[in-house]
């Protein structure tokens, strides 16, 4: 079995592997074969790519573990995690609510040890002058509130951890 790479687009995983290199490059995406006749170098930002005889003009760039692409007046963000990074990420567990933007805490609507239901607003944060609700993704009990009112935090900071009701 050839090595397969996993990419995420619009929340869905896609498996890509190499079927053949010669005479033409043939790739498999989720089991379907595609012929690639013009393939760019990895560091090119503006690429011309021909897939199954159709040519695409694409702009692309990396940002962390994401590749941003623009094609046909649409912008896409494709996630790529290599195996080591993926292992680290998932060890953190699913019950930690992290900040997906940097900001400051405006209000806290939960307390440690308290019961919350999925959809409850646990915290309101502010980023770039906009208020964003931090919402419980499941029913459970609040374990720790890591940041207090008026405290600022960076992107990715743990805001609240919770666990399932026992």
């Amino acid at each position: 079995m050839a090595m397969s790479f996993t990419f995420t687009l619009d929340g869905e995983d896609h498996e890509i592997s190499i079927l053949a290199r010669r005479p033409d490059l043939s790739l498999s995406i989720d089991g379907l074969a595609y012929k690639v006749s013009q393939a760019p170098a990895p560091d090119e930002n503006r690429v011309s790519l021909t897939v199954d005889g159709r040519n695409y003009q694409i702009w692309r760039t990396w940002e962390g573990d994401r590749i941003h692409l623009r094609m046909g007046a649409r912008t896409f963000s494709v996630g790529y995690e290599d195996a080591i990074l993926a292992a680290q990420h998932h060890a953190g567990g699913d019950d930690i609510l992290r900040a997906d933007v940097p900001g400051v805490v405006v209000t806290v609507h939960c307390e440690e040890g308290g019961n919350v239901s999925s959809g409850d607003i646990l915290m309101v944060i502010e980023s770039m002058k906009m208020q964003v609700n931090i919402v419980a993704h499941r029913d459970g009990i609040i374990e720790t509130v890591h940041v207090g009112i008026n405290e600022s935090f960076e992107k990715g900071t743990e805001l609240i951890s919770m666990h399932a009701e026992s």
């Binding site: 079995m1 890509i16 190499i18 053949a20 694409i58 912008t75 896409f76 940097p102």
Partner: protein, 490 residues
């Protein structure tokens, strides 16, 4: 005319002011926080001075430091741009007190118009229509009772407010008290003034505003209207001039009301009088913004004027550069605000690096930007990084020009609303001019991106995969025997 100007701002508006000031022969003096040291407004200026502040936003609000720099750099006037100190009467006073000219209105006019309750009363006295409203005094219960008498839905607003802060639509009496409490808290936090009021919320309102210029002695002209009905989170994202299919007679009455307000306040500077227009054709005074507006370029394009030049000439006591009869609207202009945010994630602000920035070069397109390639977009400032303004011979033509220009605008490395703006402009309801401030909520479903077809999705994924070094190496760098082997190993 002045010999020099200090621009007490950053981003696109600082660049915008510098362009005109330079063209008029003024020496341009920029100020910046350390985080903005590589920003275009710094590079473009004749000289730039560092503002010391731990919090970046505080730098541009530091009256004492800014005036100190202005004096040391021998600036003759200070242009505040919009936001930050633009509508701060104490700043205007301090500038004048230091013997410099403030490019803006008289401090007492800033105070009057900055107080939403007082300015409403001022408009009402002049016979300019305002929506029925009630103010909160100390007694919350009495406020609830009085508000209920106006009838729901109601809009709660902060007296010192702006930018959607402290605002909420309340549809029933039982949620009113809680919303009022939240709004008071927000108003205190943002504006250090907890006063709020509630006014009748007009369903499906359009936002129509009028650009005015006043000389400070009662001479006022208007430069017609702008429509800013397409908003998200109470903030405009697409503006245009003229308004879409606005009856001429009604347009003239709205412009006349705006001029009335400016004449009677002896308004000096460029200013904008905002109205809401109900579906039944009634219009109500909303507020007056005593500064250059973000969306001023659409007026500049259709009227063929430079509003920053007008501001500087008025501040230099040269009087109004034009008479009412000189001002004509010609063609149509649309502005799209380019913001770093995630439209599909409730417009959450996004941060990142503008790794690739390519601007449209069509003659019909003007990009007022404040970022350069490689610049880091942080949460420290507003998410708007530029404005794409396009002109056409009519509305349809301006929409098409805007769509082409949005296609040509490449800003990669941070999430933006560029695609989303395109989907609004393409929407049949937008093309038909069926606008109201709830447009993006009403059409939320049809504004979501259409699913990708399978071939396009493959192209995107392959382009992404080939950007991964390990993957690319497997494709091209594998030694010969293995390279041909793996072809049939699968």
């Amino acid at each position: 005319m002045f010999a020099s100007v200090l621009i007490a701002n950053r981003g696109e508006i600082a660049c915008r002011v510098e362009r005109t000031a330079r063209a008029l022969g003024l020496r341009t003096i920029a100020v910046f926080h350390h985080e903005d040291r590589n920003a275009p407004h710094v590079a473009m200026a004749d000289e730039a001075h560092l503002l010391q502040a731990e919090v970046p936003i505080a730098a541009y609000l530091d009256i004492e430091q800014i005036i100190g720099i202005a004096k040391a750099a021998d600036a003759q006037c200070i242009h505040p741009g919009y936001g930050f100190l633009a509508e701060n009467a104490a700043f205007a006073e301090a500038v004048e007190g230091a013997g410099l000219t403030f490019v803006g209105p008289q401090p007492d006019v800033i105070r009057l118009m900055g107080d939403k309750i007082r300015s409403r009363e001022f408009a009402e006295k002049l016979g300019v229509p305002v929506a029925p409203s009630v103010q909160q005094d100390d007694d919350l219960d009495a406020f609830v009772v009085a508000a209920t008498q106006i009838g729901f839905p109601l809009l709660i607003k902060a007296a010192a407010g702006g930018g959607g802060k402290g605002m909420s639509i309340v549809r029933s009496a039982n949620e009113f008290a809680e919303r009022a409490r939240i709004a008071t808290g927000e108003a205190e936090r943002y504006f250090a003034d907890g006063r709020i009021y509630a006014e009748r919320y007009v369903e499906r309102p359009r936002h129509i505003e009028v650009q005015v210029l006043g000389d400070g002695n009662g001479a006022v002209i208007h430069l017609f209207e702008r429509e800013c009905s397409v908003q998200r989170r109470f903030q405009k994202i697409i503006e245009e001039s003229p308004a879409a299919a606005l009856d001429r007679e009604l347009r003239d009455r709205i412009c006349a009301a705006a001029v009335d307000l400016a004449v009677n306040s002896k308004y000096r500077n460029a200013g904008t009088v905002e109205f809401i227009l109900a579906p039944d054709g009634e219009f109500y005074f909303l507020e007056m913004n005593t500064r250059l507006q973000v969306e001023h370029p659409v007026t500049e394009i259709v009227c063929g004027v430079d509003l920053v030049e007008a501001q500087l000439r008025i501040a230099a006591a040269e009087g109004l550069p034009w008479q009412q009869g000189d001002i004509r609207q010609s063609g149509h202009a649309i502005e799209c605000r380019i913001c770093c945010e995630e439209p599909q994630n409730d417009f959450h602000p996004a941060t990142g690096t503008a790794q690739i920035l390519r601007l449209p070069d069509a003659e019909s397109a003007r990009f007022d930007g404040g970022i350069s390639e490689g610049q880091v977009i942080t949460a420290a400032f507003d998410s708007m990084v530029g404005k794409l303004v396009c002109k056409g011979k009519d509305r349809e033509d301006a929409i098409d020009a805007s769509l082409r220009a949005l296609d040509d605008l490449i800003l990669l490395g941070v999430s933006t609303n560029v695609d989303y703006l395109g989907s609004i402009l393409q929407h049949p309801a937008f093309r038909a001019g069926e606008l109201h401030t709830g447009f993006v909520e009403e059409h939320a479903t049809s504004l979501s991106p259409a699913p990708l077809d399978e071939a396009d999705r493959a192209a995107v994924l392959i382009a992404a995969a080939l950007a991964v070094d390990e993957f690319h190496k497997l494709v091209y760098d594998t030694p010969e025997p293995y390279a041909s082997m793996s072809a049939w190993r699968n």
